[in-house]
């Protein structure tokens, strides 16, 4: 957790007869980050042959994708398919799987056809709806006149045939308007469906009634009565709603059907995945006549496990050779050691933030826990409100739960939850709850200080708040320097440790400069530290820095590296520029942390402003709906805007002020070939 995981390189040789069993063991364990053994500089490695990849693997990959696509399309997430998967012992029967997938495809097609039929009915009903008068009660003239696109049938139907007729009608986008008295029916459909409708009506013995007869019989009145109960437009809405439900049912039916088949298809998926990965593993094998050789990196704590697995699979016939990264003489190879950052799962959002910046170099400090600490402290200082924090925490928890349900890995929502928790803690420290000072502050009353009422405790003015953030900045920067020294010490890079940009001398200058600055400010900007002290604090390290160029030149010469000529003037100029850079850089880095106070003050000020607006809206009386609405919107705005700003600024301070002191992000991430989702069985657990 403090540094990246210690790695070991394995070089293994297995006999042809043990190849499949050993490959299976490697997949199950899922810990090797393979390298091409031919990259190892030795005469024998160049003579090894490649293992040809079979066409079966590509086919297995295609089938796996197909299987995943079908389940995805049926609304069954991939996680359902993979959650209990075990590496299968047998190679998959691709033909059988293909044929099973054809079955799935047919089922999906059938459902899609059903959905399409329903969709067509929806579209036709919508069309019918457009052609009907918008009013709730269409005039009799509408039923009398000829319509360009709508066919209207008026007539009667024998009562005993009504139920069957209704059923037969379900496939046509028609509007059936039966009368209450059941002696007259209206049927409306699109002209394009008229022939179909006529056939249906003939089948059910429909007796047509002409509009004139209709008028004479007084049926119009009856129709209108019926319309008042449910006008045609609303009846269409009702039908549309039924059809949409039918579409949903079809979708759910497919989902249920696929869920039932999980038991059958999950092992197939596992077989295909294993076949694909086996091919990937074999791509890294090299062979002699009867042996297969491979190499890769694994975490040192997995050495025993891998040894046991390979020995077990080969019944003791596998030969294993282990190497430490320090043994690598070739610097290129040493630099290629993959990096695993191993942190407790709760730190995963912060590990993602680190990885977003870059992968640290092998053997250096893994800053994840410190990033978590500093990030949350910065966020809390900028967004310290228990109420707002609670909202952010709930959003984070809700989002995380939703993502988990969808089977998606996500680090953003857990990060939001952490930020919410931090805001709650700082809210208690500052005594703020939705901008109201109703909690007793455990540290100081932020609101009172910003509004100029802070009279108790050590923090009484905005200057005090600014000072806190500067102290905090010094802490972060100093930690960064310490980490850099630690990294350099581990790497044995003495020149960089002492003379480097974040080296001991720069640390000495930073400490000296900080002390001098505080001394000067503490004496009301009138006195600097005594001269002898200034000499020790600033002049000595500055002069020692002058030795950097000549020393580097000398060391390059000793190591046989190419080196140019060294000119005294250039050395002096570079020294002056470097000193300037150190002073201005570290000063601005430290002052940069004042933004933490800035945003915290803005948070309080914004809330105060919204309370004042709410007061103004209330006038002399108590709060009305308007005032509460203003407060609600104000809180929402502060949570949204300030939350985003605080999150971004915390990230920025970590990346630029903290990482720039020690972090070298050109490492190669550890990516073992594993059957299990994620990088290994352990990390996915």
């Amino acid at each position: 957790m403090i540094t990246t995981t210690t790695m070991r390189q394995v070089i293994a040789a297995v006999l042809e007869q043990d190849l499949e069993a050993c490959t299976q063991a490697l997949l199950e364990l899922g810990v090797i980050d393979f390298i091409d053994i031919r990259e190892i500089p030795a005469q024998w490695t160049a003579q090894l042959d490649s293992v040809p990849a079979g066409a079966e693997a590509e086919r297995a990959g295609e089938l796996r994708k197909r299987l995943e696509a079908y389940f995805h399309s049926a609304g069954v997430p991939l996680s359902e398919l993979t959650k209990n998967a075990e590496v299968p012992r047998e190679a998959p029967d691709l033909r059988k799987i293909d044929s099973a997938l054809d079955g799935l495809e047919t089922e999906i097609k059938q459902v899609r056809e059903g959905q399409k039929e329903v969709q067509d009915q929806i579209l036709q009903l919508q069309e019918l709806q457009r052609q009907l008068p918008v009013s709730r009660d269409p005039s009799p003239a509408f039923f009398e006149q000829e319509h360009p696109y709508v066919e209207i049938f008026a007539g009667t139907l024998a009562p005993e045939k009504r139920r069957d007729f209704e059923e037969a009608l379900s496939g046509i986008s028609a509007l059936h308007l039966p009368q209450k008295e059941r002696d007259l029916d209206y049927l409306l459909c699109l002209k394009q469906d008229a022939p179909k409708m006529e056939r249906l009506l003939r089948r059910f013995g429909w007796q047509e009634v002409s509009p004139k007869e209709l008028e004479a019989s007084g049926a119009w009145r009856k129709v209108r009565e019926r319309d008042q109960e449910l006008p045609p437009q609303e009846k269409i809405d009702e039908k549309l709603s039924d059809l949409r439900k039918k579409q949903d049912e079809l979708k759910e039916q497919l989902q249920r059907s696929f869920e039932k088949r999980l038991e059958l298809f999950a092992p197939m998926w596992a077989g295909l995945r294993a076949a694909e990965l086996t091919a990937q593993v074999k791509e890294h094998y090299r062979k002699t006549e009867k042996t297969y050789i491979f190499s890769g990196w694994i975490p040192a704590d997995k050495q025993r496990e891998l040894t046991a697995a390979l020995r077990g699979a080969s019944e003791g016939r596998a030969y294993l050779e282990w190497h430490r990264p320090e043994e690598k003489e070739d610097t290129e190879l040493a630099r290629d050691v993959p990096v695993q950052m191993k942190n407790p799962k709760i730190f995963s959002p912060f590990q993602a933030l680190v990885q977003n910046f870059g992968t640290p170099v092998y053997g250096s400090v893994d800053p994840t826990p410190l990033v978590a600490l500093f990030y949350l402290m910065m966020f809390g200082l900028m967004f310290g409100d228990a109420g707002h924090g609670l909202v952010v925490l709930l959003v984070g928890l809700f989002g995380s739960r939703r993502q988990r349900r969808r089977g998606r890995k996500n680090t953003l929502f857990p990060l939001i939850s952490w930020c919410g928790a931090s805001a709650i803690v700082f809210g208690f420290l500052f005594g703020s709850f939705f901008g109201l000072p109703i909690l007793k502050p455990l540290w100081f009353d932020y609101h009172a200080v910003v509004l100029g009422h802070g009279t108790a405790g050590s923090v009484r003015s905005i200057t005090d708040i600014l000072l806190i953030t500067i102290y905090f900045g010094i802490l972060v920067i100093s930690t960064g320097l310490l980490l850099n020294w630690f990294n350099r010490l581990r790497q044995g890079d003495w020149i960089q440790l002492i003379w480097g940009n974040g080296g001991l001398l720069v640390g000495w200058l930073y400490a000296g400069g900080t002390y001098s600055a505080f001394y000067f400010v503490g004496r009301e900007y009138r006195h600097l530290p005594p001269q002898w002290l200034l000499t020790v604090l600033l002049l000595v390290p500055a002069l020692l820095l002058l030795l950097k160029e000549p020393l580097t030149h000398y060391m390059h010469g000793r190591e046989g590296k190419e080196r140019g000529k060294i000119a005294p003037f250039t050395v002096l100029m570079e020294w002056a520029v470097e000193l300037l850079e150190i002073f201005s850089g570290y000063l601005s880095n430290t002052l940069s942390f004042m933004r933490v106070a800035g945003l915290g003050i803005a948070h309080v000020s914004l809330m105060t402003a919204f309370f004042q607006i709410a007061d103004m809206a209330a006038g002399e009386g108590s709060y009305g709906i308007g005032s509460y609405l203003i407060l609600l919107l104000g809180n929402a705005l502060v949570i949204g805007l300030e939350g985003l700003s605080a999150g971004i600024q915390s990230l920025r301070l970590n990346y630029y002020e903290f990482f720039s002191k020690y972090f070298v992000g050109n490492g190669r991430a550890y990516t073992p070939i594993s059957f299990y989702a994620g990088d290994s069985k352990e990390s996915s657990a």
Binding site: E62, E105, G114, D120, L123
Partner: protein, 354 residues
């Protein structure tokens, strides 16, 4: 300079963040290899097209997917227009008008079939844009208008009313809507050219370059198709050239009056498209194969131009146009792939038309 900076910095930064969302060539290749629409949807589930493709799993209707994708295309243009002001905003609104004209043509075709040709069997188009594009138009009402008077009344307050007032008698008399469609296209390209004239010199040059290739593409296509389908004397009644292309009207007319399609195509390439003379379709093949090759070539030219613009001077209309073009191309490819999967076409068959 400061004006350009102010005008384009925000929208360009916004658009540039989306460049990474464009699908890679490998992704398109993966889509081609898919066997079904379900696989295409699965491949695109992490992209911005996921929701559009999900519609298929709800409705089983590829027209609904196409419509959703087309709506995304229109939204891209409308969004860009909303971030701009004055002439560039007007120009992007002109581009939106292209979709309005297409939608109007679509609705008019249904109106024509029902009212002029008296075909009552067809229902009106199901997927027409309902939101406001450039003019207040109800495409469904247009498609369902019961007479030419009703149709014209629905177009009141739009420039299309005057245009249709002039053309509808001819449409009714000739029982043909083709000329009206040509007029609408010509109107659109004239409007677009006017929009370009409002831009400043640098933007004008960029927009004109794109417009010219697009118009040439359409003119070549039309001339070759007319030459293939109509005899020389039958062709004279049609005014089919769109304005704004790089090929001179004289060359277009000469090619149009050629004896056959192949001759027309060669003439256009030889005289009209000098800068790309390097391309010469293989002799002895069918004219439509050759036309297809020419179309592919011109589309490639457009694509290369767009990619070049993308990384050019940032404070100009270039990046925006390039993004619009590449988005349009991408959506067009997805629509073609979805259709091809629906009808069971092979990857090779689709690749030819992408």
């Amino acid at each position: 300079m400061a004006g350009r900076l102010k005008r384009y910095s925000f929208v360009n930064a916004k658009i540039r963040t989306r460049l990474g969302q464009l699908l890679s060539d490998k992704k398109i290749d993966d889509l081609l290899k898919c066997r079904s629409i379900e696989e295409v949807a699965s491949e695109l589930q992490q992209s911005r097209y996921a929701n559009a493709l999900d519609i298929y799993s709800q409705t089983g209707d590829i027209r609904a997917v196409e419509f959703a994708l087309l709506s995304m295309e229109i939204e891209t243009l409308r969004e860009i227009a909303s971030y701009l002001d004055s002439a560039p905003a007007d120009y992007f609104r002109c581009l939106v008008q292209g979709y309005e004209v297409d939608m109007l043509k679509n609705a008019l075709r249904y109106w024509f079939d029902r009212v002029v040709r008296g075909d009552q069997r067809e229902s009106s188009p199901s997927y027409l844009y309902r939101d406001f594009l450039v003019h207040r138009l109800d495409f469904f009402a247009i498609a369902g208008a019961s007479s030419s008077q009703e149709l014209l009344a629905l177009l009141e307050g739009t420039p299309y009313q005057r245009l249709l007032q002039r053309s509808i008698p001819t449409v009714e008399q000739n029982q043909r809507i083709f000329e009206l469609e040509l007029e609408l296209d010509t109107y659109y390209y004239r409007t677009l050219a006017e929009g370009i004239r409002g831009l400043d010199k640098k933007d004008r040059k960029t927009a004109t370059g794109i417009l010219q290739v697009e118009v040439d593409l359409q003119n070549i296509d039309r001339i070759v198709r007319f030459a293939a389908f109509y005899k020389k004397e039958e062709r004279q009644g049609f005014d089919i050239f769109l304005p704004g292309g790089s090929i001179s009207p004289a060359v277009l007319r000469k090619a149009y009056s050629s004896d056959d399609a192949l001759e027309a195509l060669e003439l256009l390439l030889e005289h009209g498209y000098r800068s790309y003379r390097i391309f010469k379709p293989a002799r002895g093949r069918r004219v439509f194969d050759q036309l297809n090759e020419v179309e592919l070539l011109l589309r490639r030219i457009l694509q290369e131009e767009a990619r070049r613009l993308l990384w050019g001077y940032p404070f100009s209309i270039g990046t925006l146009l390039a993004f619009v073009f590449l988005t349009k191309k991408e959506i067009d490819s997805i629509i073609k792939i979805v259709n091809a999967k629906y009808y069971g076409l092979t990857a090779e068959a689709i690749r030819e038309v992408l």
